[in-house]
């Protein structure tokens, strides 16, 4: 970096200064304008200075993303909304400056890497912003090179952005933000759609940017584990969008842990594990990173005061009948082998997680096994059928398949009709079908929304409905493709609770996920894929704690495993939060929510 002393004097304006920000979303429907009665966020004040990383934390619907949009002027200029209070970016009031003119003071990285690509090459993409700012060509190219080198993409400047991995595309989006030259970066869930390796890539870059001391960062992130070590301050919003508490991350976590758990926000696994164990450091602080937890655990262990981890007997599945039998399955598409000679068996009642980097062949494998795409004959048997030959309706009644995006599967105009559809297709009698629909509405918490159009549900409700439509036909096997993709932790936890319940009733569940802590906490078995081949197949405790294996598959160990892997046995294989013993009778309540 060329700047010798980028730090401005303290009397300069803050990069971002928000005061009493209140936003009400506006629904414009032709003539009528409907202003939401509920304000989210509702009276938030925060400040970001140079060199700081400020994290926004809060449950779904508390207005974190709205606040991020208010920081760059999209609220209220572009997104239909009424805003109260003031937002100043680099001393400029966002209300009196248009979004494009604010972009030299604030740059934003959004959640979806695909929706940020405008041009046909990595270099053109980075130059797009500075070109809009009417900078001279030489300056544009200087900035582009600097920004691309900073995110490690300079060597790939001639490639099409689509050729980059998800993590690569988000690093490109960060480079685009840097090239605008704005000191404030707003990152709105930049890693929500990424695999573990991609997440790490992105945060390595953010860490560098934060350390450079020339930028301030406003971060919205659910995966606190990924970002905990680089966050300076946290601003917590409660469920109704009000500012609950703010301060340094460690202090806030240590002093308000019970309130935060009650709020339902996702917290670092290291912190939750320490709460279970009743573990605090010398100053009474809770650990926030796996490394800090590891230090505390080691000290306890050395002092001989670490209790034995719990081993949950219910996790090991008694061998039952074979439900899925895959024998030498190979799937090729466009002259590429995507699934390469894969064989495995799944017995009734297992909860199998398939993991691997993007492009490892997980979805292709799942689709072939469930018969969504036809596999070669005699390579797959599922629920007594060969999907290569079985009738689609037969197959669908025994195997439920939930696509990544629930909207793709909606085929009717109301929640009730959506649930009834599968039964009608299968010729279930109307009386019985009504009973089953009511039962399902009740179970998935959708009774009040029965008449609503599926597309008007919230993200979490859509996901529940899509699982409900698959479950109502009472399949023997439920297959889910990244059920937590793009969802925040609360919704993910809600869904996983549902899957656990179905699983405990005897449904065999197979799912693809990038979230290793989910695998650790919920799966009875894990298959790791790399380049279309099975690299490992076994219980999560063993597979996930095998660091070299995880690296080979471009995966990362669950955060808890990173804290326990170097401890003496049996602690070195503890990867599940539920296996961490409870130290006091008050603790269980605290942790049950997330486990």
């Amino acid at each position: 970096m060329t700047a010798s002393d980028g730090r401005p004097a303290s009397d300069l304006a803050a990069l971002l200064d928000m005061r009493d920000v209140v936003v009400r979303h506006v629904l414009e429907d032709g003539e009528t304008v409907e202003v939401s009665p509920r304000a989210t966020p509702d009276g938030v004040s925060l400040r970001v200075d140079v060199g700081e990383v400020v994290l926004l934390l809060g449950p779904s619907g508390s207005g974190k993303s709205t606040l991020a949009l208010a920081a760059n002027g999209l609220v209220p200029h572009v997104v239909p909304a009424r805003m109260g209070g003031t937002v100043q970016v680099g001393g400029r009031d966002t209300r009196t400056h248009e979004v494009p003119t604010l972009s030299s003071a604030v740059a934003t990285v959004f959640q979806d890497p695909d929706a940020q690509v405008v041009t046909g090459s990595v270099l053109d993409e980075v130059c797009f912003g500075p070109e809009n700012l009417l900078l001279p060509v030489a300056e544009i190219e200087r900035r582009a090179e600097l920004a691309l080198r900073q995110v490690g993409l300079w060597e790939r400047r001639a490639e099409a952005p689509e050729r980059l991995s998800g993590g690569g595309r988000q690093r490109l989006a960060i480079a685009c933000a840097l090239a605008l030259g704005s000191p404030l970066l707003v990152l709105d869930e930049p890693t929500a759609n990424l695999d573990p390796a991609g997440k790490e890539e992105v945060y390595d870059v953010v860490r560098e940017i934060a350390a450079s001391g020339r930028h301030g960062v406003l971060l919205v992130e659910h995966d606190l584990d990924a970002a905990a070590d680089l966050v300076d301050r946290v601003v917590v919003l409660d469920g109704s969008g009000r500012q609950m508490v703010s301060g340094p991350l460690r202090t806030v976590l240590s002093e308000h842990i019970d309130e935060l758990v009650a709020l339902g926000v996702w917290l670092p696994v290291a912190t939750l594990a320490a709460v279970r164990l009743g573990l605090r450091d010398g100053q009474g602080n809770l650990p926030v990173t796996p490394e800090e937890l590891a230090t505390l655990l080691s000290a306890r262990s050395a002092a001989g005061r670490l209790p034995e981890p719990r081993v949950d007997a219910a996790r090991s599945v008694a061998p039952g009948a074979t439900v899925i039998d895959v024998d030498g399955l190979t799937v090729r598409a466009r002259r590429r082998t995507i699934v390469d000679d894969v064989s495995f068996r799944v017995t009734a009642g297992e909860l199998l997680a398939v993991v691997g980097a993007n492009g490892a062949g997980k979805t292709t494998l799942l689709k072939a096994v469930a018969g969504v795409t036809r596999p070669p004959r005699r390579t797959v048997r599922i629920a007594g059928l060969d999907p290569a030959r079985a009738d689609v309706a037969d197959l669908a009644s025994r195997v439920g398949y939930v696509f990544q995006n629930p909207e793709h599967q909606f085929v009717t105009g109301s929640v009730r009709a959506e649930l009834r559809h599968g039964l009608t297709v299968r010729g279930v009698a109307p009386d019985e079908s009504e009973v089953r629909v009511e039962e399902m509405l009740e179970r998935f918490g959708l009774t009040d929304l029965a008449a609503r159009h599926p597309f008007l549900l919230s993200g979490g409700q859509k996901r529940r409905l899509s699982v409900g439509t698959a479950m109502i036909c009472r399949p023997e096997v439920l297959v889910l493709d990244e059920p937590t993709y793009g969802q925040d932790r609360e919704r993910a936890a809600e869904l996983l609770g549902l899957l656990d319940a179905l699983h405990s009733e005897g449904t065999t569940v197979v799912l693809v996920t990038h979230d290793m802590q989910v695998v650790a906490d919920h799966a009875t078995r894990v298959i790791a894929l790399a380049d279309g081949r099975i690299e490992a197949d076994g219980p999560p405790g063993l597979v996930l704690s095998d660091q070299p294996l995880m690296r080979r598959c471009h995966l990362r160990a669950p955060h808890l495993a990173r804290a326990t892997s170097h401890l003496p046995a049996p602690w070195n294989t503890v990867t599940r939060l539920a296996d961490v013993p409870l130290s006091s009778p008050t603790a269980p309540q605290t942790v049950e929510i997330s486990a």
């Binding site: 970096m1 972009s103 695909d114 030489a138 544009i140 490690g152 689609v392």
Partner: protein, 279 residues
């Protein structure tokens, strides 16, 4: 990409940041180095002329000239070159023979018989009319290929903004729209299989097919609108529309050579019309 590469080295004062050339596009291909508008303004009148010329020799000459121009002017690589040089006459031949079958034999009964099988005869006149269509089809394909190989969408948009005074907001919005197309294709594929799994409107016939298609529209539109909205937020946040103009790193100057190229295309138009009329 490892974290180690993140360390930003000192950037050279005048780092050469060449715009990435199209894969394997040699710089010396004269139509590719010409202004992108040449590849539109030149071939387009010829495409119209093709419909008015009914002379086989003139049409054939146009085809040969365009094929040579495609290969020599855009240097598309050995595989495409071979496909053009072999495929063009082959296509013309196949279309000519097969189209000839459709021609009313009575109208050309006076022409010599080429093939006779019992009462059925294939006349030279049939082949001639077939060849007319075959040559027109091939000429049009080659002229379109010329434009496609000589330039790219973004280049045409940039050149149009620079020389035709098309507002850049419009041009770039159009480009962004083009980028949606492959994404929609993929999304439609996924929606199709998702609906199949749910057993939507199974069965054959136009009614079932229409119901299926209608079912794809809602999720496709919902996804499309959301995507478009996100892209426009991202563009706004990157200063799109901040000023009435924007810097273009790649300029497409209009040189004397470009005028000469377009004029020679137009001269070819006139020549084709004159030759066709004169014979």
């Amino acid at each position: 990409m490892s974290a180690a590469t993140v360390q930003a080295p000192v950037v050279a004062e005048h780092a050469v940041v060449a715009a990435p050339a199209r894969a394997s596009a040699p710089r010396r291909a004269f139509l590719r180095t010409a202004n992108p508008l040449v590849s539109l303004a030149g071939p387009f009148p010829l495409m119209v002329v093709v419909f008015f010329v009914a002379d086989l020799r003139v049409l054939a000459a146009m085809g040969v000239a365009t094929a040579i121009l495609v290969v020599a002017g855009t240097l598309p690589g050995p595989r495409v070159s071979a496909a053009v040089l072999l495929g063009a006459p082959l296509t013309a031949g196949i279309v000519a023979v097969s189209f000839g079958f459709w021609v009313d034999a009575a109208a050309v009964a006076s022409t010599p018989v080429l093939v006779q099988a019992g009462p059925w005869a294939y006349h030279a006149g049939q082949l001639e009319i077939g060849l007319l269509t075959g040559l027109r089809v091939v000429d049009l394909m080659l002229l379109a290929l010329l434009g496609a190989l000589a330039t790219t969408g973004p280049d045409v948009v940039r050149a149009s903004i620079q020389h035709l005074r098309i507002p850049y907001r419009l041009g770039y919005a159009a480009l962004a729209a083009v980028r949606f197309v492959p994404r929609f294709g993929h999304e439609l594929e996924v929606i199709r299989s998702a609906h199949r799994v749910r057993g939507v409107a199974r069965g054959r016939g136009p009614v079932a097919a229409t119901r299926r298609q209608a079912g794809y529209a809602v999720p496709l539109l919902a996804g499309g609108i959301r995507h478009a909205e996100r892209v426009s937020y991202a563009m706004d946040a990157r200063a799109f529309g901040a000023h009435s103009t924007r810097t273009e790193r790649t300029t497409h100057p209009w040189r004397l050579r470009d005028t000469a190229l377009v004029l020679s295309f137009w001269a070819a138009c006139v020549a084709a019309l004159v030759l066709a009329a004169g014979v």
